[in-house]
Point group: C3
Chain length 335, copies 3
């Protein structure tokens, strides 16, 4: 439960501010034994108010300490110890990192787990960590401070930058899906490219990034991919783009920087998506998107009976449009 410490081992607000900054208002010795949301925190927890719509929770929270902005602080109760910062959510992210480093279970782990299989021709930086049952093939390179959790596969000649995190089951550099159709069967096109992953990239559990056919598949710096995502061959994903779980990007698509792609969304092959495009969950990108913005395509959910009626009508929609035109023409003629 959120790494709650025994109260005797609690940090103080002063410890936190000393490490992470912020303006302390209240008792520096307020104990902090855990991090929790405003509505579930107890007296020994620190919480945060990042979204003004939860301002009312400041009234009722039991948290002993709250991270908040200067403007939110003006409306806050006096009996709470506060850390006032410009961006409370960013401060909470940094606090979570500090907390994990200081208090979480950090067994004394080896650099490369003894069960991992690292090919003699692969290069693993001495500061990288490689978990149990990882399989790193010939010519692969793993950068500084990168962490491969259990059971990550990195194929031949694939390159992973510094400070990346790859979660269990991720597969980097399986063959792209390429075949030539010939006399009713499929002839394999060997995938001669590799995968190149930049720095500060996170790749989720069981996510797959395929190697390129003739050039490389490229994941630029700072990209964050959630679990169970499929990235096809020759794809390029621009810096700091984030994609949620179960999304799929087909071969040779090029996605810009700072995009977000919602869960289960699909980007078809050979398309381009501009920088700063946001695709809603479960939407299918069927054409290139040249303009930044927010794009959606998803059938609205409804009770099943209503859905059945509307879906049936949808299959006649082009006809209905024609019938509207006929009515318009009739009325125009009459008037």
């Amino acid at each position: 439960m959120g790494l709650k410490l025994p109260i005797t081992q609690a940090a103080t607000v002063a410890d936190i501010v000393a490490a992470l900054g912020g303006e302390l208002r209240g008792d520096p010795q307020t104990p902090v034994a855990g991090i929790a949301a405003l509505d579930s925190a107890t007296k020994s927890d620190i919480s945060f108010l990042a979204n003004p719509k939860y301002q009312s929770q400041l009234e009722s929270t039991l948290a002993g300490t709250v991270i908040l902005s200067a403007s939110a602080d003006q409306q806050a109760r006096d009996d709470i110890t506060k850390i006032v910062v410009p961006d409370p959510y960013h401060y909470y992210a940094r606090l979570s990192q500090w907390w994990k480093l200081r208090y979480s279970r950090n067994a004394d782990e080896p650099n490369v787990h003894p069960t991992a299989s690292v090919h003699p021709e692969a290069t693993v930086h001495e500061s990288a960590r490689v978990g149990p049952f990882c399989a790193i093939d010939a010519g692969a390179q793993i950068g500084a401070d990168t962490v491969l959790h259990a059971r990550v596969a990195v194929g031949k000649d694939c390159v992973i930058g510094a400070r990346c995190i790859l979660h269990p089951g991720a597969v980097i550099g399986a063959d792209g899906f390429g075949f030539a159709s010939h006399e009713g069967h499929w002839v394999k096109i060997e995938q001669l490219g590799a995968v190149v992953i930049g720095d500060d990239v996170e790749i989720g559990a069981n996510t797959c990034v395929d190697r390129g056919a003739l050039s490389n598949t490229v994941i630029e710096d700072g990209v964050k991919l959630d679990n169970l995502i499929q990235i096809g061959h020759n794809v390029r994903i621009g810096k700091h783009t984030a994609m949620a779980g179960c999304a799929g990007v087909a071969g040779s698509a090029v996605i810009g920087a700072r995009c977000t792609v919602g869960g289960g969304a699909v980007v078809l092959g050979h398309l381009s998506i501009a920088d700063d495009v946001h695709v809603s969950a479960a939407s299918v990108v069927t054409r290139s998107i040249r303009k930044p913005g927010h794009y959606t395509g998803m059938f609205p959910i409804d009770d099943n009976g209503s859905w059945e009626r509307n879906a049936a009508a949808l299959k006649q929609l082009a006809d209905l449009r024609g019938r509207i035109r006929v009515l318009e023409d009739l009325l125009k003629r009459e008037s």
Copy 2:
């Protein structure tokens, strides 16, 4: 093929009824060498009639023995041996378990496979089974009679109850997908919670259940998750809910008890779904569902030409609605 025994090793109907109950009508010595569907069974097979719409298959089946209800038996042929029970499908499920235990390949398997990696600070119940290449991290707990097939990853401090089954490649306790946006890049929010899985839960191959950010991700007793499902951080799934393959549940969603979620369906984050809600395959839940019932949202498939025409018209639908209003107003004024 369904574990067909040599006829010399066949069970008898009497063996089955002795073990599982039911009213035997016919020759107790009828041999049973396999289990098969009515339309593919042979004389030495046992079959079952669970759905009245297949009643006519009772006429033509070659099965020597059939499990059926009392009412179905009234219309059944006399030359078939029967086991009459209140719920034939449930009886078939129990029979499949009895059959597997008795006849299937049960190599003498060790409690923990020698290739598995179990952290010294993890706890595996002595009756649990852990397959090849499983990676169980510090603080994890595996309950009594739980089976982890090959290559299951269980992260730090995650708890799995009794009598669970985890299929190959399942990943329990990878980090949830949480970042704070800061000056154009993403700052990781450490995921300090864990995953808590109840008793009698089944988790499919390559399915992922992420650890919580500040509290735990919770899968309650009796939940059944198919393959390649993504469960985000802080999600709670209620008792006896079942989800089909490729479904995804985004962070902090709360799903009730006894729900079913169809294949490829997506539940967006921070939503609540009541008990006894049924979501059709490939539907996207974009708002909380407070009432039990059956919900659907999915574009009906059509031949591609018809789809193109209707999809084009759909992009003008709000306009078409406006044009209908204009026509209605015109006609109202005229009349």
Copy 3:
């Protein structure tokens, strides 16, 4: 980058034509140090023109050698060395295979990687290759020249034919998803069938093929499955059918030969799809398809504001249809 050789180790066009055939037009000693697309090739690369719509790239390409058809050659520049063949894309596929065999990193790999777990009752053909951390269970059979990359799981009694390729994380023979509902909980139906995979099948990374309930799940010869695909129990997929990433096929569906299924598409259970059916990406097959053809069902993507308006109108579509009828009746009566 596409396995570019140092120019001193380059092949010649004559080497390629000697191995793969085709009519050479130009200097047989033209060096070939890499394979590249027309728009990114350099003088020492070989490229190909497979699609007439890229004919104009023949004007501007820097490639020293191009594979093309006789008709395309009539419009081609004279300063390029050509290999004229009936099917340039098929020739490129064969060239990629020749190239990989000849030049790619082929570390001297063992037949069965020492870290793999092969049950003593499993059968692996002596020419098959089994990668690190593969788990092959009792009774499984792996055919001649089949390659299992890292971390493939093959369950009890599952059979894989000759010349197959299974990518990392693939799971063959996990339990199908079968339960009987009984007094508010789910009773497991043991999955007594297995998986039978034909020859020349390719299975993508983290793709799952479940074992059958009473009969086998069958993948016929020449089928190609991309990554992260779910194939339910008792499914049959016909020869030379190809499915793109993240697709899902629910239990007992039967898919014909030479079909294609786009990325993220879903086929519901117990349906039949005829031979030569093409399902677009992200479409949901909700009924059997008896006629060859191209089928689609997918909400067209739009800017979010337009989508919101049209999606709202869609929930009234059956009503709108009714209102159109009323208008038509009114006008009919008036005229």
